[in-house]
């Protein structure tokens, strides 16, 4: 394979540079993105390459970052704001859910919001409170937002490219653990991954694991372990939660009849529940056993010494697969 191997953060960085190069309406801004290159170095080098009009260190105010993004978009720019950690997106929820997500609808398309909100999230790296929270359950319940959750370096490139070019607001969620923990080949040149097309991270016929973002890695690890026990477990990476690839989910249920949905978040009201409701809606009769959630728990995201218990790991997923395979109608 001639594609260079990159970390996810390097793929993101290169994609931002490529899109800024391609379209001069693209502006990147957020807390500490310019001079320091971002707390994860995702925006490193952009200041030198594009200058301080195109990449801007903002005052420490998330609502201002997203509120200004809405205004920039109305003024014809293509804003790519960063929320330093997704948990601080709460500070801007009124601008995100109440404004950005509704501008097109409210104005019947006069004001498009081609905004890509990049934000790291997810656990496993011992960050303090609110840095690790997985809020997909809440974000996907906001009509008017697309929610994108890459799990590989290549997808980070392909989906970020698509997000920036999409005429609608996209919340682009970058797994903290994946920035350097995920590496892989990344196609060079123009590379787009369309929204709403799930990806088989691992094919498999006995059980389907449906998940997204960093949990794809974890699920693939579980599937690999289970393969050694002779079990064929497929891992379906949703890639984008809104839009959702209903067809591929249905096909997976039809093939295996047994499904596990893995998420890092609080389960109550989380996106795994939505996947299960969707399966009930479109593939109920293909189920051979009740679909199962492997999630965080109904507690706030815990402190460092407890997070490995909170975040699903391969063993919890494997145990769920075993239990699921024991179920006989």
């Amino acid at each position: 394979m001639s594609d260079p191997t990159m970390t996810m953060v390097a793929a993101i960085n290169a994609t931002l540079a490529a899109e800024m190069e391609r379209d001069e309406r693209v502006v990147v801004f957020g807390e500490d993105v310019a001079l320091s290159g971002g707390v994860f170095r995702a925006t490193e080098g952009l200041l030198d390459q594009f200058g301080e009009d195109r990449i801007v260190d903002m005052p420490l105010a998330e609502a201002a970052i997203l509120g200004a993004a809405a205004g920039l978009a109305a003024g014809g720019m293509v804003p790519v704001p960063e929320i330093q950690f997704l948990g601080f997106g709460y500070q801007a929820m009124h601008q995100l859910a109440g404004q950005i997500a509704r501008f097109r609808y409210r104005t019947l398309g006069r004001f498009e919001m081609p905004i890509t909100i990049r934000s790291p999230f997810g656990g496993g790296v011992r960050t303090p409170e609110l840095h690790s929270d997985s809020l997909e359950g809440q974000l996907t319940n906001i009509a008017g937002l697309k929610v994108v959750t890459p799990s590989t370096a290549a997808d980070a490139k392909g989906l970020l490219t698509e997000a920036i070019r999409d005429p609608d607001p996209v919340v682009f969620l970058e797994p903290l653990r994946g920035y350097r923990g995920v590496k892989g080949p990344v196609p060079q040149g123009e590379y787009r991954v369309p929204f709403g097309k799930a990806r088989w991270a691992t094919p498999g016929d006995d059980v389907t694991i449906i998940t997204w973002s960093y949990q794809v890695e974890v699920a693939v690890r579980a599937a690999r372990n289970l393969a050694q026990q002779g079990l064929s477990v497929g891992v379906l990476d949703l890639r984008t939660l809104v839009p959702l690839d209903i067809d591929e989910i249905v096909a997976a249920v039809e093939r295996t009849g047994r499904v596990i949905v893995v998420e890092e978040a609080v389960p109550t009201g989380g996106f795994a529940a939505e996947v299960i409701a969707t399966i009930n809606e479109y593939a109920f009769w293909s189920l051979e056993a009740p679909p199962v959630r492997v999630s965080g728990f109904d507690t706030p995201y815990p402190v460092g010494q407890l997070e490995d218990t909170y975040v699903p790991d391969a063993r919890r997923i494997e145990a769920a697969v075993h239990r699921l395979l024991e179920v006989r109608p």
Partner: protein
Amino acid sequence: MPTTLHNEDLIAMLCEMIKARVASDRLWSLQRQGRIGTIAPIDGQEATTVGATWALDPTTDWVIPQYREPLALGRFGPEVLNRFAAWALGHPEGGHIPEPVRVFPPQISLATQILHAVGLAWALKLRGEPGVVLVFFGDGSTSEGDFYEAGNLAGVLEVPVIFLCSNNQWAISTPTSKQTAAAGFASKAEAFGIPGVTVDGMDPLAVHEVVAAARDRALAGSGATLIEAVNYRLNAHTTADDPTRYVPEDELAEARERDPLVTFRRQLEARGIWDRHHQADAEQAAASAIDHAWNWATNLPLAQLDLFDHVFANPTPRQQRQRAALADHLGHESGGGAR
């Protein structure tokens, strides 16, 4: 009455103020007849809105209103009133002010629009386009974090924005004394490092003057200005409100003495450019304007399936499924044959 404005501007301004009041009254009665939902009247704030917009160039400048101002944005074209009527009627076209009118639809989530204004002004600056952004908000809205974040950001970015606080003394039932302990809203500019100006918001010419100065400043690249236009809410907060529960009678009576529709009219009369014929004509023109807007808005077609339009540029598969299911359901409802 020293002003740089020409007589025809002064006349047009008074006409617009009258139009706003007449349209506001008309919508009020329509609400009372149950034909539209809650509506927020503009009484007392006409001079602020009209004076401010007369300092703008509608071909380059933008207006971002709260929810009262659209009644008085005729300077940007009659389309704004049409759309406002549709908005009051709960029709989706109400939020759609078409190009090239540089006006945003009414904002309900208070103070959020102040940040949009900063972003839009930033876009103008980045694109090297001429023009400024004028954003309206109430005294109550200054208590929201968004107001301060916007003021602070504008100070840092030095963008061409004019913050216009239309201080009508009330946020529903909450008086300014419970809104802030600051010595006036203009003084909050201190926190942003931008100039703050207080002006008599019942005097359209005074408002015009400070907005024109702020605009010059903005166009010169010197950044934002915060203006507090002091006026008074002469009517209820909305049709759902009963101000007699909380507005002191004497205070209201005193404010009525300063009703801009009376005082400005007297000024023009004194200048010899207005008489009761003008007044009658203006009132009639106003009545036709709102009649026209109302007729236009009530005749807008609407299909229930329009519900799904414009969420995204292209609907998601799930939206398509939902839309099809709803079409099916509505088809059944209407006898089934419709499908």
